[in-house]
Symmetry: C2
Subunit: 142 residues, 2 copies
């Protein structure tokens, strides 16, 4: 487990009640990270809330994994699948990166997004990793 220096001291900005339901839907988060040269990268990912943090899961060695290990500042936006003019966006920091329990997390995400409680996309030898994002600046629309 790696904990960001600035992680412990600060409280996350709370997810507004008005838009919490977006995290109950099968809405993807478009997660922006930074490449080694400082340019942005963005991909849709499964996402869930846990203790006020935004939780995502990837596999060790992927671009997303390398970016979040190397540069903790990220951003994300989630649109309501039922109304694209309703969304939540945030900037934040990856405060925890851990392999512990990461297989459980990807299974929970699989259940949320596909209904299958066992993740079907696993590749041979793949090591799952969980990233916890502390929202520091949140904006909403709709």
């Amino acid at each position: 487990m790696v904990t960001a220096e600035s992680g412990a001291a600060r409280q996350p900005q709370p997810i507004p009640e008005s838009h919490r339901d977006l995290f109950d839907k099968r809405a993807f988060a478009h997660i922006a990270t930074l490449m080694p040269n400082g340019t942005p990268q963005v991909t849709p990912m499964w996402v869930m809330l846990q203790d006020g943090l935004v939780v995502v899961n990837s596999a060790k060695g992927r671009q997303k994994d390398r970016n979040m290990r190397g540069r903790r500042r990220v951003a994300l936006s989630v649109q309501d699948p039922d109304n694209p003019y309703r969304y939540i966006g945030m900037r934040g920091i990856v405060v925890e990166i851990t392999e512990e329990g990461a297989d459980d997390v990807i299974n929970q995400l699989s259940e949320k997004y596909t209904g299958n409680p066992v993740y079907q996309g696993r590749r041979p030898g793949e090591v799952r990793v969980t990233y916890k994002i502390r929202p520091d600046h949140i904006w909403t629309m709709g």
Copy 2:
């Protein structure tokens, strides 16, 4: 009009035929830009293709406008509204920023996304701006 130094010399990476249709749908692009301190920001935006470039439109002075003027490297991802496991992502550079024709562009985008050929979201005194993004690195899924 501002033209990026590196813009003229290079050809855009072509949008793959397999995923061009995403730009015909009412799918939003989640556009990642860089804040002044180099951290990422991402929001959903209307988008269209023109001459191999990805065209978006915002208003002068907004965060997105300031970010793209100050830092030309951007990224975006577009999911198929009919199948979220089908998407296109790209990293690229803003090669042109112009107010010329920007009112026409926002009206075209309005027609594409809402069916109304006249953009209804205009605020008093708002100056529309068009940004043209040259795709330099494209990836697809599904």
